[in-house]
């Protein structure tokens, strides 16, 4: 069965001086969130999100679920996974890179096994597949020290 998720955005004015709002998402889990071109392309300290930050959040969450699923299927359900995704955006070119980093607490598994499961999650999670056109997707995976 297909799953649908929605978002609604309003924009006022031109690109450089105008601003937008992600007014609502279907689940109501977040919003409204303000967006603007300066916040997207220049200064991240203004506390405004951007398409690239939302893509980073989508990829990190998708990857984490795929990895939790893969580890559990292999008999080593994780206690905890901490994942970050960093999306690189070059105006005029597009999204050029996603860097995934994950640290895990997984009883009974060694580093090599964890890295193998993480590579599989990176290859198979739906957001990875949707972003297959990105030139470079990197993965740094290790168990918690």
């Amino acid at each position: 069965m297909a799953t649908e998720r929605r978002a609604e955005v309003t924009w006022n004015g031109d690109l450089m001086n105008g601003s937008g709002t992600i007014d609502r998402v279907g689940t109501g889990a977040f919003g409204p969130l303000d967006v603007s071109w300066p916040a997207r392309a220049e200064d991240p300290s203004a506390g405004k999100t951007s398409p690239e930050e939302l893509i980073a959040a989508a990829h990190a969450s998708c990857f984490s679920m795929a990895l939790a699923g893969g580890l559990a299927k292999g008999g080593n359900a994780p206690e905890r996974l901490s994942t970050s995704a960093t999306v690189t955006f070059v105006p005029g070119t597009g999204i050029t890179k996603v860097a995934l980093e994950v640290r895990g607490a997984v009883p009974g598994l060694d580093d090599a096994g964890f890295r193998e499961a993480a590579e599989s999650a990176k290859a198979n999670c739906p957001v990875s597949k949707a972003l297959a056109g990105v030139g470079e997707i990197t993965l740094d995976a290790a168990l918690d020290a």
């Binding site: 069965m1 998720r5 105008g18 969130l33 991240p44 996974l81 955006f89 597949k129």
Partner: protein, 149 residues
């Protein structure tokens, strides 16, 4: 051109069927949004999902691209409303895939005619980095109409 980086972090506890995660954006615009597998695939209970975040990303990307193209055409918009629906489905032999993103745009743009508007919408879709990326593996449709000014 400058390279711009944006990050988000996720913490996950437990297996996929019964575990739960939290999503935080580095700008602080959103923090500790909960998500889980049951709410990703089925009933929503105020929890977001990767696909909902992609819908929000696509809406933000398209609205900015359209504002930029309309301004370049000499007709900056007064207001744009962009609704995006992301569809994920289970495809035989391929597992779960994002199969479609469907955008509906209502625009209030003084001084533009319908033909010119259609051309600008097509340019904005082509220029939105996220449209270009997911078109490689999913269908992307943008339906746009002008509102009376």
């Amino acid at each position: 051109m400058p390279r711009i980086e944006r990050s988000a972090t996720v913490s996950w506890e437990g297996n996929v069927a019964r575990g739960e995660g939290l999503i935080t954006g580095e700008t602080g615009a959103f923090a500790e949004l909960p998500f889980s597998l049951p709410t990703r695939l089925g009933a929503v209970a105020g929890k977001t999902s990767p696909e909902e975040l992609l819908a929000a990303a696509h809406g933000g990307c398209l609205s900015m691209s359209l504002a930029g193209e309309l301004t370049s055409a000499g007709t900056p918009p007064e207001r744009l409303e962009v609704n995006v629906k992301i569809v994920m489905d289970e495809v035989p032999g391929k597992g779960h895939l994002v199969v479609a993103s469907e955008a509906d745009v209502v625009a209030r743009v003084p001084g533009i005619d319908a033909d010119r508007f259609d051309a600008v919408v097509a340019a904005a879709d082509a220029g939105c980095s996220f449209s270009a990326l997911i078109r490689a593996s999913a269908s992307v449709t943008v339906r746009a109409r002008l509102e009376a000014t």
